[in-house]
Point group: C2
Chain length 188, copies 2
DNA sequence: TTTTTATCATACATTTTGTATGTTATTTGA
DNA sequence: TCAAATAACATACAAAATGTATGATAAAAA
């Protein structure tokens, strides 16, 4: 098996990620073939198969790496109860993360449907909520089941975030945050 | 070219839709091959190619048909300004639609990521909003650009709707609606 | 430096796709 | 109702893409 710490492996995977993203700038993920990725990356096809089953496997690995980095950043949020403050800080971190990885995210969105990213982001946010708040479906927030509330705000914020990526800089980061500040009631 | 009204064409397409949905109950869309669909539907592969370029083309056509029917139902909403009443009625229609087409939607979600449906639903809702409200990006609702507000509520409601499909009947339709009633402020 | 092993080059069988052609069956519309 | 139109079928085949196997080479680990 391949060692996760072997420099050659790390290098190969990174090149595969970059090549996939490059290709996604020009055509949809559906239309990209494994052989395209290998050609772009100059990595032997048999090496590809040594690491991944198929291109979906590769994409999931790429996403998983992004998830880990985003989750780490989300840890900086010091709020420990589900509140407006928590949500606003979460959004701040999310938007900043997107901004700093704009190259990656806009490549993903360029020729693909939004859904490919939405799943990813929802998963990250819910992981953060559940780890942080020891979230379980029994908890009630302002007379509502927490899972409903979380889904509602997560969906809303992510949808705005995604739109923000595609329509480059229509609003500044600060504008966006202030808009959302108006959308979330002070007492959730 | 194939006539849209020819009974043979209608029948063939319907069978292809049903077969695809059946297959999606058992495996992910990615893993389904055109030849699988033809085998399942007993439709000749050359006939498939006479109608669709590839399986994505077929899926889009299936979605487009669902969209049309949902859009038609959304027309019953009599609210003409973007308000809580409009959103609640929209949600009511959406939830009812999902409920009446549960077979279809749960098949789609069974072995696939949510994203595949989210795109679809966001598109429908935004089409309704824009047609109904002659929505353009200049409009301001309670000091916010309408597009931001729409994205926020659409994302939130859809995320709840999707969850509701997968977790069968955890909450009743009425419960769900009342929860959301609490989440949306009376004056948007 | 030696050993380990990831990558590469190459080859090949198999699967899946995409297209083409003539025949048959069904639908349309006069 | 019947002739004309055409959708669906059976079949065949070329091309594309995948998936796997093997030994040689290069790079990293120890």
């Amino acid at each position: 098996m391949h060692s996760k710490t072997d420099l050659r492996v790390i290098k190969t995977k990174r090149i595969l990620f970059d090549s996939l993203l490059n290709l996604m700038k020009h055509k949809s993920f559906e239309k990209i073939k494994i052989s395209d990725i290998c050609e772009e990356s100059l990595i032997n096809r048999s090496t590809f198969y040594a690491h991944y089953e198929d291109k979906y496997d590769l994409l999931m690995d790429l996403f998983e790496e992004q998830k880990q980095s985003l989750l780490k950043e989300l840890k900086d949020n010091e709020n420990s109860i589900f509140s407006k403050e928590y949500l606003m800080e979460l959004l701040n971190i999310l938007i900043t993360h997107i901004d700093e990885n704009r190259e990656t995210y806009s490549a993903i969105l360029m020729n693909n449907r939004n859904g490919i990213l939405i799943d990813f982001l929802i998963d990250v946010i819910e992981r953060d909520v559940s780890e942080r708040l020891k979230y379980n479906s029994g908890i009630i927030v302002s007379d509502l089941p927490l899972d409903i509330v979380v889904k509602f705000y997560a969906g809303g914020l992510i949808n705005i975030g995604i739109t923000w990526i595609t329509r480059n800089e229509k609003y500044s980061k600060e504008e966006l945050l202030s808009y959302i500040d108006n959308l979330i009631p002070n007492k959730i």
